[in-house]
């Protein structure tokens, strides 16, 4: 579903991503781990089409992100680490706007809004300006905006920043359900326990390079580490 071939990204003289290759299958949950500045967010942004690669290409569901970007965007969902939204709209207005630009049927949008607002306990914030909402509430709105148009691929950058335990539990459940429906998820995070719990495979990036990848069990066995944390520290510190 997601193919990344020889991807590199340079910022001036800094090589943020070095010759990265990834193959993520349909229905797979893949997590990218790495220390700060490893190139995780840059990789996700390039895959989302928010940045241009210096070299290499990205295919999503067979579509080239550069050449067939409209087709890609129709099947792509993105959850950024910082939920910047239109602050002068209310969540209800914002979600209707998203529904319109993704061409989702109006009735379906309204039903989904009610459904997810009920689920996330957001009813009282429906008509409050987004600029007055907390970080966590905005993050929930971003998730709902993605669920509204049912993308085939989710790209998630730090999935749980600012969320309360109830919402974290709920989101983990929802993401697992999405995987069951055959959706593909690429997530980058610093929270190792979440990656271990949810991921089919994990890739560890360090200084822009993919140093290892595999299922959590496989990696722990391969590197003779009891926990993912020890494995992570061993690999990234030796780098």
């Amino acid at each position: 579903m997601i193919i990344v071939e020889n991807l590199s990204k340079k910022f001036g003289t800094l090589l943020a991503v070095k010759d990265l290759n990834l193959h993520i299958k349909k229905g797979e949950f893949y997590s990218l781990l790495g220390p700060n500045g490893a190139g995780k967010t840059t990789t996700v942004k390039i895959i989302a089409g928010l940045m241009r690669p210096t070299q290499g290409r990205v295919l999503i569901n067979g579509y080239d992100i550069e050449k067939e970007y409209i087709k890609v965007k129709q099947i792509l969902g993105f959850i950024p680490d910082n939920p910047f939204l239109y602050e002068n709209l209310t969540p209800y207005e914002f979600l209707r706007f998203i529904g319109d630009i993704f061409g989702v049927d109006k009735d379906k949008v309204l039903k989904s809004i009610d459904y997810y607002f009920e689920m996330f306990n957001l009813r009282e914030y429906k008509d409050v300006l987004i600029k007055e909402l907390s970080h966590g509430t905005k993050q929930k709105i971003v998730y709902i905006s993605n669920f509204l148009h049912s993308p085939l691929v989710y790209l998630i950058d730090e999935p749980l920043v600012g969320l309360d335990p109830f919402s974290i539990h709920l989101l983990k459940k929802l993401l697992k359900e999405e995987i069951k429906k055959g959706r593909t998820i690429l997530m980058c995070t610093h929270i190792l326990s979440i990656a271990e719990e949810l991921s089919d495979r994990i890739g560890i990036l360090s200084e822009g390079e993919l140093i290892t990848q595999g299922s959590p069990c496989f990696l722990k066995e391969k590197e003779c580490s009891e926990t993912l944390e020890k494995l992570f520290l061993k690999l990234t510190q030796s780098e």
Binding site: A48, L50, M51, N88, L89, E93, I101, D127, E132
Partner: protein, 546 residues
């Protein structure tokens, strides 16, 4: 205070060094462009003043009156511009929250924010005024230290004007419920209009010279000696007339008032802090006019649903951001005064050559307003997307269509305004159909061109990391667009105004064929400019990374 300013200066220096090091070609290019622009502006002003002085005694009267009008308009424009910037930089900026959390006295934070808004709101008017006085010094053969002297009158004038904006913003932020701002503003405007007509509404109608020298109501308001906006004009006119004592009196008046108001700036910290925290104390629920805006746009069936959604989003942003729509008052305030004066002329007494001059003067004024509004409202459209740009970039709508939406929306607002104004002006002047039609076409095409240039360049200069949208307007990009728009307006008005002027002076025998050719060439050039700006903007915005 010193520490904050020091770190701000270091940040500015680092930005500059970064640009010189990593974008040397662009930085030098921008520098050269700025120099040429300043030069062009200088010669434009020089030409204009030269023309006015060539009118003889009447010209001298006009220039002196222009000074009063200039300072009168600038006073209120700077007050509003400062108020809007101070609101953005003081109340809406996250830096304020950070500064409040530091062990810095609140008086210092407030003084710093005042200084910041002061610099941003006055740098362009300062440049314009210095150029004006420099060209005036050459044209009127006044001493070349005149611009320097003028700058000592301008600085306290700016401080006083900014203080008015400062007080107004603090008052509105602290004491007036946001929902009632419109009502209060309406009442205030009504009161001003009432007083205006009560005291200045019935001038005598006389000859042109008499009219310009004494009885134009706008000049009367601008010349009120007891109000500070008239002091720089009085001071400079007296300085030019070598009435040193009187000039010094106004100079001292200005500086003493400026120092007085500056001493009040930090002492209002309590109101500032109260107002600052007030914005976090309640939630704004929005529903009442939501359905109304959507209903209006749902009637525009010929546009696709997603385009209408983008429009609704932009309209809601505009309506819900008082700092944005409050600026409209400046423009319409100026036009209000202008047309109020215009209707008092006895046009039937005017010769055709004067009618023609007035027609193009009006066209020029309207285009200047459209130009300024384009810079204020259209240019920052892309920067306004700000950190939300990822939403646009990830939407399955080509950015070209979003471009189209912004053009349609801007033209949908500006075209009716400019068409209404030029028609009103032409009807008042009772000009011939040919010139009615000509100026109408000029205004329509110029509005289209300036909107597309502003939007295209807004995409090129878009900065999604700006803390507040007005920074886009006050940035280098805003300056470039303003200069390009004004250059275009000057060229357009000089071309057609010049042709008509010579025609009425009977110095042009083949007027109609020449006019037709000029009009066609000008329209093609305008279209090329529009297309170039739009295509370049579309390319640049698509290349922008998030």
């Amino acid at each position: 205070m010193r520490e904050i300013v020091f770190f701000r200066l270091i940040s500015f220096k680092n930005n500059l060094l970064y640009l010189i090091k990593h974008r040397a070609a662009k930085t030098w290019g921008a520098g050269i462009f700025s120099l040429f622009t300043v030069g062009g502006l200088y010669f434009g002003l020089w030409e204009g003043l030269q023309f006015i002085t060539s009118l003889g005694g009447l010209g001298v009267v006009i220039i002196k009156k222009i000074l009063f009008i200039l300072f009168f308009i600038l006073f209120f424009m700077i007050a509003i511009s400062f108020g809007v910037l101070f609101y953005g930089m003081g109340f809406k900026n996250k830096e304020t929250a950070y500064l409040i959390s530091l062990p810095i006295e609140r008086e210092k934070i407030l003084s710093y924010k005042f200084g910041e808004a002061f610099l941003f709101s006055t740098w362009i008017p300062s440049l314009g005024l210095i150029l004006f006085f420099l060209s005036y010094a050459f044209v009127a053969r006044v001493s070349l230290i005149f611009p320097l002297v003028a700058s000592f009158y301008i600085i306290p004038f700016f401080i006083i004007a900014s203080f008015l904006g400062y007080l107004t913003t603090l008052f509105l932020a602290r004491f007036i419920n946001k929902g009632k701002i419109l009502l209060w503003l309406g009442l205030f405007c009504g009161l001003v209009a009432f007083l205006y007509f009560l005291y200045f509404g019935n001038p005598h109608r006389g000859g042109l010279l008499f009219f310009l020298s004494e009885e134009v109501v706008f000049f009367k308001v601008a010349k009120l000696w007891y109000l500070p906006y008239s002091w720089p004009a009085y001071g400079l006119i007296h300085w030019e007339d070598k009435a040193w004592g009187k000039s010094l009196l106004y100079f001292l008046n200005l500086w003493s008032l400026a120092f007085l108001v500056l001493s009040f700036v930090p002492s209002l910290q309590r109101i500032f802090i109260d107002s600052y925290f007030l914005q976090f104390s309640y939630l704004h629920k929005k529903k009442s006019y939501l359905s109304f805006v959507e209903k209006v746009f749902s009637k525009i069936n010929f546009l696709p649903n997603y385009l209408r959604s983008f429009m609704v989003k932009d309209v809601k942003f505009f309506v819900r951001e008082p700092a944005f729509w409050l600026q409209l008052i400046v423009f319409f305030g100026i036009l209000f005064f202008y047309f109020t004066n215009l209707r008092k002329f006895s046009y039937h007494r005017l010769e055709d050559v004067w009618k023609s001059l007035l027609t193009f003067l009006n066209t020029f004024s309207i285009l200047c307003v459209v130009s300024a509004m384009s810079v204020r409202f259209v240019f920052p459209q892309w920067s306004l997307e700000g950190r939300n740009y990822w939403i646009l970039k990830l939407s399955p709508i080509p950015l070209g269509k979003v471009f189209l939406e912004k053009i349609i929306l801007s033209l949908g607002v500006f075209l009716p305004i400019s068409i209404f104004l030029i028609s009103l002006s032409n009807l008042m002047l009772k000009i011939e159909f040919l010139f009615f039609f000509l100026t109408l076409v000029i205004v329509i095409i110029s509005t289209f061109t300036m909107v597309t240039i502003s939007l295209g360049l807004g995409a090129i200069f878009a900065n999604f990391k700006q803390r507040y949208y007005l920074q886009a307007v006050e940035s280098f990009g805003g300056f470039v667009v303003l200069m390009l728009n004004l250059g275009y307006v000057f060229f357009t008005v000089f071309l057609f105004g010049g042709l008509s002027h010579f025609y009425f002076l009977n110095k042009l025998s083949n007027f109609l064929p020449l006019l037709k050719r000029s009009l066609i060439l000008w329209m093609i050039a305008s279209l090329v400019f529009s297309l170039a700006a739009t295509l370049l903007g579309m390319k640049k915005i698509a290349e922008k990374e998030y």
